[in-house]
Structures are given as structure tokens and as C-alpha cells.
Point group: C2
Chain length 520, copies 2
């Protein structure tokens, strides 16, 4: 294909060239340099047009829609974010697993409701029908059922795939990372759930993304609330998905959708409106347990009691400052059965990232950049995979890492500090010619001692270009070799930042480099 | 789908059950426990048969063919291997990039010759035609051309996809990791090439997989050799791929293929046979430069001079002990233009991993487990993507990580040492009831101080089960709380291995844990 394209484009080009060249050649004897330049410019213009229009239809040098490469700078930021997240997961005793990027198509079928249309299928090339994973939760549940695991605390960081409408400047891609932490097992109520919130609190604090809030609710409270407000059973789910829009739409519009589109009575909608405006902490849960309507629902009461218990654990975990019991929180996914939560950044400084989506929201909410973490309890999902329907209760959280990357990248660009993309401690350099062998000998000594070192792949590089490379890539030290240093058995160690230079005995070099670059 | 399966299988089961139950119920009054057991056994047998035959066609709980999950133990090994490899890449000053798991189909077209049939295509769901990446080299070349990068030293560790015949026990999968290190840029000859070999040497030594050898050859020497032996130009590639089989077949069979299948003259084959049996070092390159036939090929001479230069650098890098100039090495991929290399493990102890493939080979080769690393120089690939055909010389190496995982997993299983899957330093436990709150308070203190700590998610767990958990998962310390300890402001710190217990003032606890678990 590429080969064919080359031939086609080139022959086109040759055609153009020929015409121009023939003209040029005819007047070769009398041609001036200026005329040559003019002809060259014409040819180049033609060439650019070829590549710019016709060429484009033949071969496009790009990544697939909704995907991106990570360059070294972005990778350095990504690595930093991952390290923070993984350290936290490990601090809480999690193991890690990995699953394939594609699953049997039927493993994903019936798990995502309407969103199933966003699943990437593989072409039927004979053999099994496969699909790219849509999230990490369903493969996790499949893994537990397949291996009959009833207890595990695991994290999984990997890419997932959704044929959604990408909005890449706001960190919404078709290929994106999820960082999931889940606790599976039959335990006493709300202890693992509270730990998930503690983890979100730790990660968002450590990443230093500005102030945040973690909204908490419970699927049972929502269902109970719908029941006591007079929502027919078969409308729970659709009304729930309308409530879910409250972070993007004002109540009036949400109510309109409920009444006009979903056919709910105005009275029921108004009752829901009253509840979903409520925010608080343990006190709100206590008040609602006394609420004459809410208390009629067994489900709601079970949820409210668990919220109370949850807050008592959150107090012990010292994270109640950021956690809000918010009756308007209604996460979309079908598989949640109990507590649900979502973390949002509230700092105005990063609002630009996604404030498009916020128009119409009230003043306080308009500064949020949307959800950066979310999760909840899903006690039924593993049972869907088990041949005997055996349930494994699970609770988990997923960190929305792409939005965090977007914010971190913007911060890095705004900051004066340079992002280093390598960890090189020292550059082995020389000011004189014919010292390639000596440089290679020295860099070998350093590598063998575990020092991160570089040497230029040139026989006789200029000292200036070697020093420039250090400046550009943030290498702090240069080990300079010359005839004199070799004779004296020393190396001249130069500190790039200060330009200070000192002679170090060759035998002491590695320990001196280690001392000067240790981050203690 | 899953729902439907359940209904169908269950109704089948109900049918069987009904018949059995009806019989059972008729004699309910006089039934014995033994009879019940018998009936239950019959039912279970029926159920198993259902699940084993009919059930299978409806819903299979498995991963896609040729893929696997990594469980926490495998992940711990994988992490260790990756850390060794990444440390080495970083020690040599590499940056890292990432590219999407799928590319435009046309990006991969025309790069892999016959192997193109092994590429996974995505289903055409509207929009672009996409394929899963087949290796990391072609996406790297696309990345360089697209971003007009002419100089980079990068590593990339990611999964690639090949619809090949899997042989999973020997570490051959359809989804597998590649660990690639490449140096792109116009540099002085053989310096980056030598560094790639130094890297292979460092990684294989550090992974401690037993003895190994790195075979080196040059595409130009092969082509020159074919020319001087009288192979027609249009047969270079096919004869080359026959030579590539020498590590799996004896010379007699390779010759037969050349003569009988590829139509080469017996005389030419015999001449090739003489050359490809040659192995050596710099001396062999020197000898061949004097060889009356070989020296007639300019190409071969260029390759041989570079091999000489390469060995001089390898001497400085102190890695010649493992490197062999081997004229039988002929790597398959089309895009190589200069030096090529391949590392093989030679230790008998790990031969079991792939000795199937070795029958017919000679005694020395029969102990090799096949290639664990390979690479070479490809100066033309980036130019295939550049609209103006601008070349960016590249040399790189790919570590065959799945085979290494297989070996490491076997070693781990054979060894008595337990693989830890978490890094938890301390378990917060209690021997008494009603101390959940106190345990949560203490574990919060530890987490907030950066200690990796766990607590059981039970109100009143038994001390024994808490200690057992430590034994099983290798947690070295237990911080035990009781009424007395709380009163005294201390924590009882128990060393799991020795069962030694000492009281530590609560204020000193984190530093004491850190002291006892630091790996200095």
C-alpha cells in the first residue's frame, strides 16, 4: 500500500518536475542563481500541494481517532502520577493482576446497558468473537468467577476502550487508562467501603490537584426515595439516569425531563426535587431516618444506616472534611447495589479543563472540572459469571487518570520547572579529540557500578555540544576526560548548574557521583 | 446472553430435577439420609454433564485463545523482571514513550511480509479501519516520522498482538509483552549498536537466567555471501529465511530445502554451508576480509569492517565473553539493513521450556531455550513513513519477556522461597473484642505516616486468623492492640518469623516499623 502510494505520488511529482526541468534546461547556459531559486520554490510548492491534498487521501500519518501517543514528557508526568497512585494502593495492601486487552465478546454482553454500542469488536477472522475491554470491572468479575476467588484486594491499571465521541482537550479519549482498586469478599459492613474513600482522599491529596469533594450516596437510598416519592417501579432506572444529570443541568431542566420526557407526575418530581437538594453528613442520614416518608422504605433505611456507619469509620480515617452525603449523586452503571461515590475537583484554577460542560450549573458547581474518581459497591456482578450464581460482594473505586493527566500537563506547562524525561546522573565528556575509547571505558565503569550515565555517539564531539545536551536534558554532572586527567588518574567533575569543576580520583568517582545525586 | 444461558440450562436442569424429585417426594416419609445423598449425587452428576457438554456451547468462562490473566504471583514476578529491565534502560539514559494499542490498518500494511496475515483487524464499525499493533518498532517509526524526530533514545514496554499458533507452556502467546530499546539518529558507526549489545548483556546477567550467548551478524555480510556463492539476486530473501532455520534444523535439511524447494544449485548451497558454519570474534571478521571470495563483495566488506569495529567497542564495554560473530544468524524481519543479533540461553537447566522445538539439532544447540532477545539496525523504516522519504537511522533491541517470565515462574515454583504479592509491613491486630475503632484509628496513623499496613475487615476477628493471614502473605510485623496497651500508650509489636513480642511506645511505632522493615 505504502509502496504503491510512493510510486503514484512520485510519478506525479516526476511529471511536474519534468515540465519544469525541461524549461529550465533549455535556458541552462543563461540561468541565474535567482532563477534557480525561483524554480526550486515552484517545485517545492507543487510538492507540498501534492502531499497536502492528493497525498492525504492515500496515506495519513496519524494515530487512530480518539487516541494519542505519549511523548517522553507526558510519560514522565504519567509515571509520576502512577507512582503516587500505586504507592497508595500498595500502602493499603493491594495485590495487582492483569487481564487481556480483549475478552470473548459474550463476556462483555449484557453488562453495560445502552453503552454496549460503544464496545470495539474485533473483526471475525475465524475463531472466537472478541471485543476490546470496556472497563476493568467486568474482566475482574470474570477473573474472580473463573478462578473461584472469593477474597482479594487488588488493583489494576490498564487501558480500556470506548467508541465514544472523543473530547481530547478535556481528557476524554477512546483509549484511556483506568486505575482500579477493589476489595472482594464477605466482610463486616462498610469497613472496606470506607477504606476505598480513604484511598481516594489520600490520592487526591497527594497529587496536589487543589481542593476536592467526595460525594457519597447509596443505590438503596435512591431506590427507596423513588419508591416513597411515587415513582413506578419500572421507571426507577430511567429517573435515576435523569437525576444523574444534576451536576450538568439545573433542577428545572431535570424536572422538565422527568415530567415531559419520562412521564413522571409533577408531584412525584417535586418530592424528588426536595430530597436531591439535600447535602450533609452523618446528621443528614440521622434526620432522614426520622423522615416520615423516607422511613417508610426498608431499603432506604438500610442505606441510611450504612451511611451513618460509613461516616463513623470515615471519622476514624480522618477524611470527613472532604466527604459529603449528597442525595443527588446517582451513578450511571447498572451493576451498583449499595454505596456509590464520586470525587470532584472544586478549585477554580483548573476549571478551564472542562468548564464547557458546566454552563447552566449554579455558581458553586460551575468551578468543578467533573469527576476524577468514582466507584461503589457491586455485590451481584461476579454472580453473573458464576455457573451457580454464587455471589462475591465487591466494592471498588476507579481513578479517572486521563483528566488528572490533563491537569498535570497544564500545570507542568504553566510552571517554570522543567520536566526531566531521563534520570541520567552524569555525562561522560571530553574536550579533546581521539578520546572515544577512554570515554567508552569510563562510561562502562559507571554503568557497571549502577550509575545512570550517557556518552555521545560521536568520535569527536565538541565539548560545547556535550554541555548543551546536559543543560537541555537536565543532567546534573559531567565527567570530563582529557590527556592530563588520564595521566593523573583523575576525572574532572563539573556541576552543570554552578559550572564548578573539581578533580576527583578515578577510584572515588562513583561514590562522589552517588553522593552528589542522592535525593535524600 | 448470559441471562438466556442461565434460563436455558436451568430449565433443563429443572426438568431433570423434577423427574428425580417427584420420585423422591413420593417416598418422602420413608426416605433415609443415605438415599438423599444418593439422589443428590445423581443430580450433581447430571448437572456436571450439562455444564460439561451442552453448557459449554452456550457460555464459556475463559480468556480469549492464546491469552492469559496474570495472577498476583505472576504479577510480582513480572514487576521484578520489568524493574530490572527498566533500570537498565534508564541507566543508559533512555526516555520512554507510549503509542495506542491499535493503529490505522494502512500504517501496518506492507511492513511484515508474509506475517501480515497474523495481524488482528478491528471490525469495521464505521470510521477508520484499525488493526492491533504487531510489534513496537513500526509504531515507533510512525511516531518518529509523524513528529519529525531525528534523534531519540527511547524504550517502550507494551503488549503486541499476533494471531499465531499459541504454545503457551513455552511462553508463546497471542497477546504478549515486548520490551524495546532503540536509538534513532545519525551517529558514528557501531557506537549505538554496541550499546544495544551491552544492554542485552547487562539485562540477561542481572536476571540471572544462567549462561547465555549473543550471536551477531550483519545483513550486508549475508547478502554479500549469497552474492559471492552464486545465489541469484531474487532468491536472497527466500534463501535467507532458509538459513534462519539453522537453529532448529541440521545443515543437511537446510541444504535440502535450498536445493529441492528453492531451486538453488548444489554447488552454491555447499559454499553457503561452509560459511554459515563459521563462528568467531574479531579474528573471524579479519580472516573473512582476506577471504578471496568474500572480499569480492563490497557489501560484505562493509559489514565485516563494521563487525571489527563493533568488537573493538564491545571489548571496551567488557562484554566480548558472551558475543559470537555467527554467520548462520539470519533474522526474519525484512526491515533490517545492517547489524543483527539474537541472544540465546545456553544453560541445560532451563531446557525443558522449549526443547520440543529442538529435536534434530546437534547436542550443543539442543540445550538452548531459543531466543530471549533480538534486534538490529533498520535504517530505512522511518523513511517509509516520511512523505519526503527522509531516513532516520535506527538500531534497537527487543527483549523477549514472555519466555523470561516462563523461566522465572518455573524457577519460583521450584524454589522454596515464597513470592510475596503485597508489600505490607505491618498488620494491625487485636486479641480482644470491640476494638475495631481502635484498630482503625491506629492503621490510619500508620497509613498517614506512609507505612504499608492492613487491618482485617471484621468487627471482632480472631487473633489466630489475623496471624495466619500474616504468615500466608509474608507480612513481617503485627501491631497488637489490647485494653492494657491502650491504657499504657503502647503497642505490642510482634515479629512474625520469631514470635518475639515487645511493647513499643505508640509515638515511636512508625519509626520502629520503618527501622525493622527497611531493606538497607
Amino acid at each position: 500500500m505504502l509502496g504503491m502510494f510512493c510510486v503514484r505520488v512520485c510519478s506525479g511529482l516526476v511529471g511536474f518536475r519534468m515540465a519544469t526541468c525541461v524549461r529550465t534546461l533549455h535556458s541552462l547556459s543563461g540561468i541565474t542563481v535567482a532563477q534557480i531559486d525561483e524554480e526550486v520554490a515552484k517545485l517545492l510548492e507543487l510538492k507540498a500541494r501534492l502531499g497536502g491534498d492528493d497525498g492525504k487521501h492515500q496515506f495519513v500519518l496519524k494515530t487512530a481517532k480518539g487516541t494519542r501517543d505519549y511523548n517522553p514528557k507526558q510519560m514522565a508526568i504519567r509515571e509520576k502520577v502512577f507512582n503516587t497512585i500505586i504507592s497508595c494502593f500498595k500502602r493499603h495492601g493491594a495485590e495487582t493482576i492483569d487481564t487481556p486487552v480483549f475478552e470473548l465478546k459474550e463476556t462483555l454482553t449484557g453488562k453495560y446497558g445502552e453503552d454496549s454500542k460503544l464496545i470495539y469488536d474485533l473483526k471475525d477472522q475465524g475463531g472466537e468473537l472478541l471485543s476490546l475491554r470496556y472497563d476493568l470491572t467486568v474482566p475482574f468479575a470474570r477473573y474472580l468467577a473463573m478462578n473461584k476467588i472469593t477474597n482479594i484486594k487488588r488493583y489494576h491499571i490498564a487501558k480500556v476502550y470506548r467508541r465514544d465521541n472523543p473530547a481530547m482537550t478535556r481528557g476524554r479519549y477512546r483509549e484511556f487508562y483506568q486505575c482500579d482498586f477493589d476489595i472482594a469478599g464477605q466482610y463486616d459492613a462498610m469497613i472496606p467501603d470506607a477504606e476505598c474513600l480513604k484511598i481516594v482522599h489520600e490520592i487526591l491529596s497527594e497529587l496536589d490537584l487543589g481542593d476536592f469533594r467526595i460525594k457519597v450516596n447509596d443505590r438503596r437510598i435512591l431506590d427507596g426515595m423513588f419508591a416513597v416519592c411515587g415513582v413506578p417501579d419500572d421507571k426507577f432506572r430511567t429517573i435515576c439516569s435523569t437525576v444523574d444529570k444534576l451536576d450538568k443541568m439545573p433542577w428545572e431542566d431535570v424536572k422538565k425531563e422527568m415530567v415531559n420526557e419520562k412521564g413522571l407526575s409533577e408531584e412525584a418530581a417535586d418530592q424528588i426535587g426536595e430530597y436531591v437538594s439535600m447535602q450533609g453528613g452523618m446528621d443528614l442520614a440521622e434526620r432522614l431516618l426520622q423522615d416520615h416518608k423516607m422511613s417508610q422504605s426498608k431499603q432506604a433505611c438500610a442505606g441510611l444506616s450504612d451511611i451513618k456507619l460509613l461516616f463513623s469509620f470515615l471519622q476514624l480515617f480522618q477524611v470527613t472534611d472532604k466527604v459529603v452525603f449528597d442525595l443527588s449523586l446517582a451513578r450511571g452503571l447498572d451493576y451498583y447495589t449499595g454505596i456509590i461515590y464520586e470525587a470532584v475537583l472544586t478549585q477554580a484554577g483548573v476549571a478551564a479543563v472542562s468548564n464547557e460542560a458546566q454552563n447552566g450549573a449554579n455558581a458553586e458547581e460551575s468551578v468543578s472540572v467533573g469527576s476524577v474518581a468514582g466507584g461503589g459497591r457491586y455485590d451481584g456482578l461476579v454472580g453473573m459469571f458464576d455457573p451457580k450464581g454464587r455471589k462475591v460482594p465487591c466494592v471498588g473505586v476507579s481513578i479517572g487518570i486521563e483528566r488528572i493527566f490533563s491537569i498535570m500537563e497544564q500545570k507542568a506547562e504553566a510552571s517554570a520547572e522543567k520536566v526531566r524525561t531521563t534520570e541520567v546522573q552524569v555525562m561522560v565528556a571530553s574536550a579533546q579529540k581521539n578520546l572515544l575509547e577512554e570515554r567508552l571505558r569510563l562510561v562502562t565503569e559507571l554503568w557497571n557500578a549502577g550509575i545512570k550515565a550517557e556518552v555521545m555517539y560521536k568520535k569527536n564531539p565538541k565539548l560545547l555540544s556535550q554541555l548543551q545536551h546536559c543543560e537541555e536534558s537536565g543532567i546534573p554532572l559531567v565527567a570530563i576526560l582529557g590527556e592530563q586527567e588520564l595521566k593523573d588518574g583523575v576525572v574532572k567533575l563539573r556541576v552543570v548548574a554552578t559550572r564548578e569543576e573539581i578533580d576527583i580520583a578515578r577510584t572515588d568517582l562513583t561514590s562522589e557521583i552517588r553522593r552528589r545525586t542522592s535525593e535524600a
